[in-house]
């Protein structure tokens, strides 16, 4: 995964909210705190020196507490928010250089967004909502409905085509939101706390739907959450924001095993490692075993893997993905090592 090239590249991105943001840029670059900028200069620090590379086909989670700048960051990718300074590249395209019409085409075909509060069109049926992005692209109605129907089925809403959103539960509404975003065939999916408004059970459902779809679609997904469990479950890569700054980036494994500071430490201290860490995050990816005898699936948790590993003794056990390909190997020692709570010694 690390060798595939970045699809989205964010470089030295700054965003300051207020009446004259440019004049405060140098202060921010000198490292003025968010608090001080607000109290003495009446500007809000949205983002400060964000650098992020997101590989094609990966699921990047952005995590942080409320007000840390997550929504601000994701809205820069499709330029719903203009930065104060910095660069945003998608593929070989400079997003900030796009003219109005180009930007519109970019939003129509390259990016699609899923919102925390769904943001569906209340006066349109499920079918009309899902085909909304296709309407905007100018695709003929019949064709748009045909494609929309496929996605409605994919997210498990077949039979609800003619219902209005207000008559559906939150979970079903967000399925509509997800189908609407997927239907445009945009290769970048921007999800701003897409599952945060849902009940825990429904939320787990939605996470599984997303993972299943992603397994097959390989879209590039930027997923925002303030929930560590969700971040660990979904993210190939996780970036953690605090007061507009980036505090740590890495795999779930790296974040849990080596939290960069006390802020992140607080996040990860009380999680049940055995349950949240998945084999995929712990396995060795080099020196793949030749055969798949007795292989375990990559997506199961350490907890679920342990009994099956225990019988293998010290031997490395092959790990396979849903298609049955061997993608790594794992030993019982590695699993136990991963379950040990970090203390001050093994932080970097």
């Amino acid at each position: 995964m690390s060798d595939s090239e970045a699809l989205i590249r964010i470089e030295h991105l700054y965003k300051i909210f207020g009446s004259r943001p440019q004049t405060k840029l140098s202060l921010v670059k000198q490292g003025i705190s968010k608090q001080e900028l607000l109290e003495e200069h009446h500007h809000v620090l949205g983002l400060s020196d964000i650098n992020l590379e997101i590989p094609k086909g990966s699921l990047q989670v952005v995590m942080g507490l409320s007000g840390s700048g997550k929504s601000t960051l994701i809205r820069h990718i499709n330029r719903l928010i203009e930065p104060t300074a910095g660069e945003i590249w998608v593929g070989s395209g400079d997003v900030l250089k796009m003219e109005k019409v180009q930007l519109r085409e970019f939003r129509r075909h390259r990016t699609a967004m899923v919102f925390q509060r769904f943001a569906l069109l209340p006066h349109r049926t499920v079918l009309e909502n899902v085909s909304y992005g296709l309407n905007i692209q100018g695709i003929a109605k019949d064709e748009a409905y045909k494609r929309a129907e496929r996605w409605i089925e994919r997210v498990g809403l077949a039979g609800y085509e003619q219902h209005f959103p207000a008559k559906l539960s939150g979970g079903m509404q967000q399925r509509v939101g997800l189908a609407r975003a997927l239907a445009t065939d945009a290769d970048i999916l921007l999800m701003d706390e897409a599952f945060s408004a849902l009940d825990p059970l429904i939320r787990t459902d939605m996470q599984n739907i997303l993972l299943d779809l992603q397994e097959e679609l390989h879209r590039t997904i930027v997923f925002i959450t303030h929930d560590l469990d969700e971040a660990l479950k979904l993210g190939d890569q996780i970036a953690i924001l605090r007061d507009g700054g980036m505090v740590q980036q890495g795999t779930a494994q790296q974040i849990v095993m080596k939290p960069a500071d006390d802020y992140i430490m607080d996040f990860v201290r009380d999680i049940n490692r055995a349950r949240v860490l998945r084999i995929r995050g712990v396995m060795a990816r080099e020196g793949l075993p030749e055969n798949a005898d007795g292989a375990i699936p990559e997506h199961i948790s350490l907890e679920d893997a342990l009994p099956r590993l225990a019988s293998a003794g010290h031997e490395a056990v092959p790990v396979q993905n849903k298609q049955g390909q061997v993608v790594g190997s794992i030993t019982v020692e590695a699993v136990i090592q991963a379950m040990i709570r970090p203390d001050h010694d093994n932080r970097n």
Partner: protein
């Protein structure tokens, strides 16, 4: 101490000259442009006359049939449709058919004009706070100035007749639709708007797919109020030559004919109630997609 006893004011002669000056200015304006204005409004006049003649000339059962189907299409309620038909039968039976048709023609044309001018103004107004702060006081004046007062310049410009009457009605009835269009668009959910932008909507797509449909219940409340205000102007408009139910009311006032005044007044009330119920029921149906909305 004189200063406190008497309010300083222009001398009587100065005041008279001021008024004369304004009047003369306006008169010369109307002399040079009155004809052009009349020509400009001529198509409107022709349309109004045509529509009125059509309503009057059409056989009454056909009109009743049209009323029944329009009210039913608008409200989807048999009660409202039947009530409307009964009202019109009574009106005809009491000898007010022609006047009522004239009034209906005038109200319909006035409402169409208000909608086609008011909605675009409301849309523009919702886009800019500055425009809103300019237009709002103008609307306030239009609504509060006694309606007789703006009959004067209208009559000076265009004389007496249908067009000036129509104009007076429109000026009076325009504000609610402008206000409620503006309000409705400003109240549209910001998140849905953001979604529209995120999917790459152009300005027009945003307006027609999101803003107008979501503002429609409010816009429709504006249409309803506009119709009500137009009806309220029927009597006043008849003072400057608009045919219809207002004329007998004026006669009744001048000659103290109680029954005549009452019948025609009640006919106006009946029209108001019918228009109101039908447009309100239609407005409610526009919100049927909302939680708890009717399942029609």
């Amino acid at each position: 101490m004189d200063f406190f006893e008497e309010m300083p004011s222009l001398g009587r002669r100065d005041l008279m000259n001021l008024r004369k000056g304004i009047d003369a200015g306006f008169r010369s304006f109307s002399r040079s442009y009155g004809e052009d204005l009349e020509n400009f409004f001529d198509p409107l006049l022709q349309f109004l006359i045509f529509f009125e003649k059509l309503l009057i000339a059409a056989p009454w059962p056909i009109i009743l049939l049209i009323i029944a189907s329009l009210t039913w299409l608008g409200s989807r309620s048999w009660k409202i449709a039947a009530g409307s038909v009964i009202c019109f039968i009574l009106i005809g039976y009491l000898g007010m058919w022609e006047d009522t048709m004239s009034t209906v023609a005038m109200i319909s044309v006035a409402t169409l004009i208000c909608i086609s001018i008011g909605i675009p103004i409301g849309v523009l107004m919702s886009r800019s706070d500055r425009l809103q702060s300019i237009i709002t006081p103008v609307l306030d004046v239009m609504q509060t100035i006694p309606s007789f007062v703006y009959l004067i310049p209208v009559v000076m410009l265009l004389g007496i007749g249908k067009v000036p009457g129509l104009l007076a009605v429109c000026i009076y009835a325009l504000p609610p639709i402008v206000r409620l269009t503006n309000l409705g668009i400003r109240l549209v959910d910001k998140q849905v708007l953001e979604a529209a932008d995120a999917f790459g909507s152009s300005y027009w797509q945003r307006l027609k797919d999101v803003q107008i449909p979501l503002a429609l219940p409010n816009i429709f409340a504006g249409v309803n109020q506009t119709i009500m205000m137009a009806l309220a102007m029927v009597v006043i408009a008849s003072m400057i030559g608009v045919k219809g139910l207002g004329i007998p009311v004026l006669q009744a006032i001048a000659n103290q004919y109680l029954a005549l005044g009452l019948f025609n007044g009640l006919a106006i009330v009946a029209l108001a109630i019918i228009f109101d119920r039908v447009t309100q029921a239609f407005g409610k149906r526009l919100q049927r997609h909302q939680v708890g909305g009717p399942n029609v």
